[in-house]
């Protein structure tokens, strides 16, 4: 009796396994042949795109899905090739991955870890997906990453910014291209210091869950190192919609900067409320009051409308970058869909390409071989300058963008302008940094699932 931990469907899809009649069960699964789970046996390979399609991040998820569809098109040799032309590694030929045509399945994470795992499991068990990617929150990323580790599948994280994903919850089978809280803090602090001075008093409003904690910690640590003082840090419930009760105490404090460690709907609402209460016109200790949003996204900026103007934050990537890779991506995305891609779309597109490239270079779909190819991989031409996929924690190290809300947008997409591209050295940290789970954090061993 065979004991495969997860089922093998790709095998049958291609008809490679001939029907042996009712009474004769197959004893051999592809896992036994290839030594890893869901090994593609036919002329196609299936990737699983697990993105939020319902719930508050549905629009972000839709943009991720567009990016994946574009990546699949490019991998299969369609379209204009996008970043394949600018990518420093030339392993990909535009003939699929290892000559196998790329197919994909999609699922809805609902931004809930249970639903995301159920969806990922169905991709693995039912559709024979060889890799899972996507997602728009750290809770989901950590949950699905753990699942992929247990199952023996590669997980290429989508948008997840919490330190934990490649910090205390890092996994050997999981990889993150997106930046994290620590990098946001490290990139923002110098820009804030040069614009607002080093003698500032900050008031933090923090979303009361893991991502909020790590972001507050990172921003506090790096701004305090610059000489800022943190006068208060108040936690706000995730389900909060009206932040007035948290904003008014700021009026009484002697703080002159408000840091909003919020994302998504929380951020849109807290920023809108802060501006309503006239914080932007306020003068404290003879200084102009300022608001900072550590993690920006264009979709959120759009939701907050006029309120984002002039407000600093950080972002992983922005379509207005002028390098070759970004331009190529914006061009093919914009031509296909009629608007520029979001940072979520960018990171997902890049992750799909990086995975495919790693498979090509490894010459195998086996997760451990792919992981080895990704570890320590240095590349360029993907929009963020020279980038390193660090082996110790599977985190990408690259330049970080500090942006601010644009004063005079020319279109509904032109909401952020790049203030500074913080060089990678400035956001580098040791793999056993205390904010990253310290010395205890470990990747564990890579799992092939068979």
């Amino acid at each position: 009796m065979s004991k495969s931990n997860f089922t093998r469907r790709g095998l049958l899809k291609t008809g490679a396994a001939t029907g042996a009649g009712l009474a004769l069960p197959t004893y051999l699964s592809a896992a036994a042949h290839e030594g890893y789970l869901n090994a593609p046996t036919g002329s196609t390979v299936t990737l699983g795109f697990n993105v939020p399609q319902s719930g508050p991040y549905a629009d972000e998820g839709a943009d991720e899905l567009r990016a994946y569809e574009l990546a699949v098109e490019h991998l299969n040799g369609g379209g204009d090739g996008g970043m394949l032309n600018t990518f420093s590694s030339k392993a990909l030929q535009g003939n699929g991955i290892l000559g196998k045509k790329v197919e994909y399945v999609t699922g809805d994470t609902q931004t809930k870890s249970d639903a995301a795992r159920a969806s990922a499991k169905s991709m693995i068990e039912k559709d024979g997906a060889i890799m899972i990617t996507g997602g728009s929150s750290s809770g989901v990323a950590v949950a699905v990453q753990a699942l992929c580790q247990e199952a023996g599948i590669i997980f290429m994280a989508g948008l997840t910014h919490s330190n934990d994903t490649t910090g205390k919850d890092r996994k050997a089978n999981g990889f993150r291209h997106f930046f994290n809280s620590y990098m946001s803090g490290a990139a923002l602090a110098p820009v804030l210091a040069s614009n607002y001075g080093t003698d500032r008093k900050a008031y933090h409003l923090t979303a009361d869950y893991n991502w909020g904690y790590t972001t507050e910690e990172a921003v506090r640590a790096s701004t305090e190192a610059m000489g800022w003082e943190t006068v208060a840090a108040v936690k706000t419930p995730l389900t909060q919609t009206d932040f007035s009760a948290y904003i008014t105490p700021v009026l009484q404090s002697d703080a002159d900067v408000l840091v909003l460690n919020h994302y998504g709907g929380n951020m849109v609402n807290s920023l809108t409320n802060a501006v309503q209460f006239g914080l932007r016109e306020k003068m404290v200790n003879g200084k102009q009051f300022e608001i900072v949003v550590p993690l920006y996204s264009r979709l959120m900026a759009k939701g907050a409308g006029e309120n984002v103007k002039g407000i600093f934050g950080s972002t992983n990537w922005h379509w207005s970058l002028q390098d070759e890779g970004s331009q190529a991506f914006v061009k093919s995305f914009g031509t296909k869909y009629g608007f520029p891609p979001s940072q979520a779309a960018h990171t997902c597109y890049v992750q799909a390409l990086l995975y495919a490239d790693a498979v090509e270079r490894a010459g195998s779909f086996a997760p451990c071989a792919v992981a080895e190819a990704l570890e320590g991989f240095e590349f360029d031409g993907m929009g963020n300058g020279p980038t390193l996929y660090r082996a110790e924690d599977h985190q990408c190290f690259k330049d970080v963008l500090v942006v601010k809300g644009k004063e005079n947008p020319t279109s509904e997409f032109d909401l952020l302008e790049i203030v500074e591209v913080t060089p990678v050295d400035q956001v580098m940290y040791a793999p056993d940094h205390p904010q990253m789970g310290g010395a205890e954090a470990s990747l564990g061993t890579c799992n092939n699932g068979a």
Binding site: G19, K112, L238
Partner: protein, 400 residues
């Protein structure tokens, strides 16, 4: 047989047959065919069917019999999951102690919540249970993070070393039953068909059968009659010198333990737990499952949970490409037109279809899906049978 009358025994046998043959029944379409999208016979979904079936059966013992509508039942599911998870992380990777702890922890929690909430009835009771569940959710998500893992939840890590289990260095512990991995599967090919028999599923299914059997016994016992009396007229019961409280509290705790069992099984099958499991929408979901299937009926809640989980997992995965594949045989213009019409109802629009089904069922089948089944049965069986099913439907009056 087994202390059941012949009709109930027949029902139990049918349920047993359905669950045991589920890998066949849920995979009616050959692999690789366009319809394979609708196959639900893979381990994860089958496990979810029976686990949420247990959850709904338990909920129905409270709601279907006593009419007390708890709007916070997901809290017991979540607490059971956390209990089981910690058991696995600290004590043993064997699922049995974990599930047992899940049941016990939920039972204690249900006793506390029930003791307070059952002082009120009707909508006031519903809101009290809702309040407890929402507090559990909010705290688990935030201040209790050290205990619950907060947003990212709890998983078994390579650093976890349960007392009774030995795990090779760097490996992650896996849930097992005396060494039988929950994820172990046996696959059978038959022509173009592939059937998967998963160890975890069968363990969950056996537990569900047991839970189902217990629920039949409760429904048919004097205790069950007493609970129905609470529903029909509590005041009259009071005047006959009976205090309803102990009965309702017992039902509430049993129902909470069923939820804890489901929660423990969720962890046993998929070693992870997050606080969303306790959000009010999750509590609402079990209410909807029960009503959709037919509250107060034995089999209804199981059907309802099956329908909702099927929609969530199957419908949401149908994307535009798949639609184009299905309708590729049509002329181009027509194909695009049909896809444009169908697309809003599948994939990211699966909630829309779910909402429409809720409305359709409750408008056309006031007794839930079970009533639909009875209607069909009546059509086939003619007059004599219709008397029979009338009798059955009086037994299973939809609850309020």
């Amino acid at each position: 047989m087994l202390g059941l009358d012949s009709k109930d025994f027949k029902l139990l046998l049918i349920v047993a047959a359905l669950t045991m043959l589920a890998p066949f029944i849920l995979n009616p379409f050959p692999e690789g065919s366009g319809m394979a999208q609708f196959n639900a016979g893979y381990p994860d979904l089958m496990q979810r069917f029976v686990i949420f079936g247990i959850f709904a059966i338990g909920f129905n013992i409270l709601f279907g019999l006593t009419g007390y509508l708890s709007f916070g039942h997901a809290a017991f599911l979540g607490v059971g999951s956390y209990g089981a998870m910690w058991m696995m992380k600290l004590f043993s990777l064997n699922v049995l102690p974990a599930i047992a702890v899940g049941i016990i922890v939920s039972g204690i929690f249900a006793l506390a919540v029930g003791y307070v909430s059952l002082r009120r009835s009707g909508i006031y009771f519903s809101i009290l249970t809702l309040a407890f569940a929402q507090m559990s959710y909010a705290l688990a998500y935030s201040v209790l993070t050290p205990l619950t893992g907060g947003e990212t939840g709890l998983q078994i890590k390579s650093t976890d070393n349960p007392l009774l289990s030995t795990i090779p260095e760097g490996e992650i512990g896996r849930a097992s039953l005396f060494g039988l991995d929950m994820r172990a599967s046996y696959e059978m090919n038959a022509g173009d068909w592939l059937f998967t028999f998963n160890a975890g599923y069968y363990i969950a299914a056996l537990i569900m059968l047991l839970a189902f059997y217990l629920s039949i016994r409760i429904f048919r016992s004097p205790f069950g009659t007493m609970l129905r009396a609470v529903k029909s007229n509590q005041t009259r019961m009071y005047y006959t010198g009976l205090n309803a409280r102990p009965y309702t509290l017992a039902a509430f705790v049993i129902s909470g333990m069923y939820a804890g069992l489901a929660g423990g099984l969720l962890v046993a099958m998929d070693t992870q737990v997050g606080p969303e499991r306790m959000f009010w929408t999750a509590s609402g979901e079990v209410v909807l499952m029960t009503i959709l299937g037919g509250a107060g009926t034995l089999i209804g809640p199981v059907l309802g949970s099956g329908v909702i989980k099927y929609m969530e997992n199957i419908l949401s995965k149908i994307n535009k490409d798949i639609l184009h594949e299905w309708f590729a045989f049509l002329p181009d213009g027509l194909e695009d037109f049909i896809v444009a019409i169908v697309y809003p109802f599948v994939g990211k629009g699966w909630h829309l279809t779910l909402g429409l089904i809720f409305m359709a069922v409750v408008i056309f089948l006031p007794g839930g899906l079970v009533q639909g089944g009875q209607k069909i049965a009546r059509l086939f069986r003619g007059k004599k049978a219709s008397e029979d099913s009338d009798e059955k439907s009086t037994q299973s009056t939809p609850a309020e």
